[in-house]
Symmetry: C2
Subunit: 277 residues, 2 copies
């Protein structure tokens, strides 16, 4: 096999490692791929690790032993996180988002894969040190956020449905009362979409009273799932909250339909974001 030069190895290893976060790659796989001694591979990995860490982009985690190898744990550093959240707040304050009835149009943000990718990375950074088996959300708007987060955590995704479809097989269903509108809503999750006793991260795009998140959490209890955390992109004020422990990126304080002004402030990420740095 042709021997690779270090410069070529660094490019190829960087690509393979960051393309699949949290995936363990044995050093032997690299050594064989490049026709190089493991000692050189280790030196390569030291270089990659040093650059990634210095740039606040993540770290390489080495697992020793026969079943060992190296994996990439992505991170978004504090300054980049602040920049993403600041941009989100600015985009949220755009009065063109105000819809009849004082609702907020968010689909343009959720339709922007680059923004969604970085929000998922922020949440993955928060929970990088914890065991997460699956990221759970409810259709429809939470789905892109759930996939972005799961990609950076290297976990599966389970999607709660508002209806129960024949293509889901046997499902667990609960009915919950919406916190804000007081309507009764149904939440269903396919039995086989989540293992019993999983440790899950719940994410969603918007939270007012928290009825939707509450419904997910109650449904997850039926799967004996442990909720490691709740992340929402935007929260808005509510009289009574059905969820206390959550992390939000932005807070829409007030929507003045008449003067067409939206008051946006930072969410509780930087104050509450456990393990955040």
């Amino acid at each position: 096999m042709k021997k690779w030069r270090r410069s070529a190895r660094l490019v190829d290893m960087t690509r393979l490692l960051i393309q699949e976060p949290h995936k363990l790659i044995p050093l032997g796989t690299f050594a064989e791929r490049y026709g190089t001694a493991k000692s050189s591979i280790s030196e390569d990995l030291d270089i990659i690790h040093a650059v990634l860490e210095a740039q606040g982009a993540g770290v390489l985690e080495t697992v020793a032993g026969a079943a060992g190898g190296v994996r990439f744990i992505p991170r978004l550093d504090r300054s980049r996180t602040e920049a993403v959240v600041k941009e989100l707040c600015e985009r949220l304050a755009d009065p063109d988002r105000i819809l009849p009835g004082g609702y907020l149009y968010l689909s343009d943000l959720l339709g922007d894969p680059a923004l969604i990718r970085e929000i998922g990375l922020i949440w993955a950074t928060l929970f990088a040190g914890e065991r997460i088996d699956a990221v759970v959300t409810v259709e429809t708007k939470g789905i892109p956020l759930a996939y972005a987060t799961a990609t950076h955590l290297g976990t599966a995704v389970a999607i709660v449905r508002r209806d129960s479809r024949v293509t889901e097989g046997s499902v667990v269903t609960i009915n919950a009362v919406s916190g804000s509108s007081r309507r009764i809503r149904t939440f269903s999750l396919a039995r086989r979409s989540l293992k019993e006793g999983s440790r899950v991260l719940v994410v969603d795009d918007f939270m007012k009273a928290g009825g939707t998140v509450r419904g997910m959490v109650d449904l997850l209890a039926e799967f004996r799932a442990e909720v490691a955390g709740v992340c929402v992109m935007v929260e808005s004020p509510a009289q009574e909250r059905l969820v206390d422990d959550y992390v939000s990126l932005a807070k829409v304080e007030e929507i003045d339909v008449k003067s067409r002004k939206i008051a946006v402030s930072l969410g509780n990420l930087f104050t509450k974001g456990v393990g955040f740095q």
Copy 2:
């Protein structure tokens, strides 16, 4: 500013380029970031391009001029594509997927971000050479595939709803007859989620008669959108097709509920996949 060594530059540039496919990065940005002459940056880019191309992982595209720069165009090469499709077919043939009524359980595949990422990359590879403004799908199962594809294409995502929500603002709605079940179904798309005259790629997880895709295409006509292509993960035989021109990865020929056997074959990707190599 501290001068970077080439090895460190290669790692950092590779990361920045592949993290945001199709995003144009000016050479000056790199030169400034690394305190290096543009000539050295060009040499670095030549190394990265050579490795990516040799590994069938994509290419670096350089745009000359003042507004110029370099962007990463991801690709999945033929052999890797065949491996992904083969794995998909094997997983589809698992009899445990058979649901009452002869339906097929797919949520485990759609809940696997690594598989979804590579399927999106296959579709992005097919259309890498074309102008695509947005990837369009219908809620719910198509959404992860749409985001994976849009991420690799560097485009936006627009999600067609089965219902029209107050949080979407003004929407365009059409009613269409489902090809297989002959039920009438509603398709809605928020006016502001897609610019008039956009060139779009339509993706979905499953296609039988094609009523859902047909509904999307008809709805897109209301936006004067040009459909560049239609990609489905799985197709199944139907008497009459409402869509002729599409690319599928796998084909479920038959589901025998009694003997619990699923006959799966390759989709038309390798025979029909225009521009595929």
